[in-house]
Point group: C2
Chain length 204, copies 2
């Protein structure tokens, strides 16, 4: 099966969003990130602004268990289900790059997807975030910890798995060590037709 | 700083040992795996056969905390310390490939090392182990679970970190998806002089 879809999960401040954008641009693929929320919202009728706000708050307020019949589906659960439908529809429609939203889990049963996890040491991420948001290193660190906590809680709640375990991805890459372009190159190179069928060396 | 050392951590049955051997052979580097135990044993005066047996039993019997003064160093603790010294000496001496023994943690403060984690889906590993040991898939699965449990417990006890978290490695690779040669190629390609300084693309 040819590779069609790239999913990228990333620690906050690892440059994963920029990496995904560059990969999509260089491979001429559609790119979905915040757009995904909007599409999900359109499908489920939930306001996009509200969905974003809620996602930030996930770590602070653990969600009820959607598997438990006594616990009705919450707005968050419906949001996740709507996003999952959107991700599946996008994957069926055309090759693309999808960032975040536990897309690796949503598409885990397909064999035409490559799943990447991008991360970096904390000091590298503090540098990037304090520069991007023009805040102190202390503020950047707090923001990183808050955001990663929210992402880990979201991932755990909806997939039952730990966020950041190598096993959940095809390849995991340290952007602090390899550099943004290094990670872009690694992902690009792996996205090639007949990759899985031939099992050739990554770099010849 | 040039890359000098490659460490490879691996799930049991992922082909990590074979991958490490091929990488060492193709890059003409020394290779340390069981030899490391022997070297550590020579240094600490502990019998090598005994050390191997003990490592298998680690998951069943959690070790006392070496940080706690009321808990004297056990034989296992002395083994770990001796192995760590050996790993550090090897890394100082010459470029090499080191498999297992939490070498990524022992050498975490050096900037001339590349740390890889190799893993695969359970069914791929069952296939490999039942073929290699000529046992039923059920027996292979039990052996895999027992060995991985021991490795995770060992890693957690001596590093304080979860085994298999992407963050502990430079790159993590799924050998079931990428194939043995694919992983060998990825590791080989990344082991190049001036890699870190230039932060060039991995595959051009």
């Amino acid at each position: 099966m040819k590779n069609r879809i790239i999913t990228i999960s990333r620690e906050y401040g690892s440059g994963g969003h920029e990496i995904a954008q560059r990969v999509a641009q260089q491979l001429d693929l559609d790119f979905y990130d915040k757009e995904l929320i909007t599409l999900a919202a359109e499908e489920s009728g939930i306001d996009a602004q509200l969905l974003e706000t809620m996602e930030e708050q996930l770590a602070a307020a653990p969600l009820p268990d959607p598997e438990n019949p006594s616990s009705p589906y919450t707005l968050e659960d419906r949001m996740f289900l709507a996003q999952s439908r959107v991700i599946q529809n996008l994957a069926n429609r055309e090759p693309c790059v999808i960032v975040g939203r536990a897309a690796n889990h949503v598409l885990a049963n397909r064999d035409d997807c490559l799943h990447f996890f991008v991360y970096a040491e904390l000091d590298e991420r503090i540098k990037r975030i304090s520069g991007r948001l023009n805040v102190s290193p202390e503020e950047a660190e707090k923001k990183i910890q808050r955001t990663d906590k929210a992402r880990a809680a979201y991932y755990k709640h909806y997939t039952g798995k730990e966020w950041g375990l190598a096993h959940n991805y095809t390849v995991s890459l340290d952007s602090g060590y390899l550099g943004i372009e290094g990670v872009v190159g690694a992902i690009r190179h792996r996205f090639q037709p007949e990759w899985k069928a031939n099992k050739v060396g990554i770099c010849g």
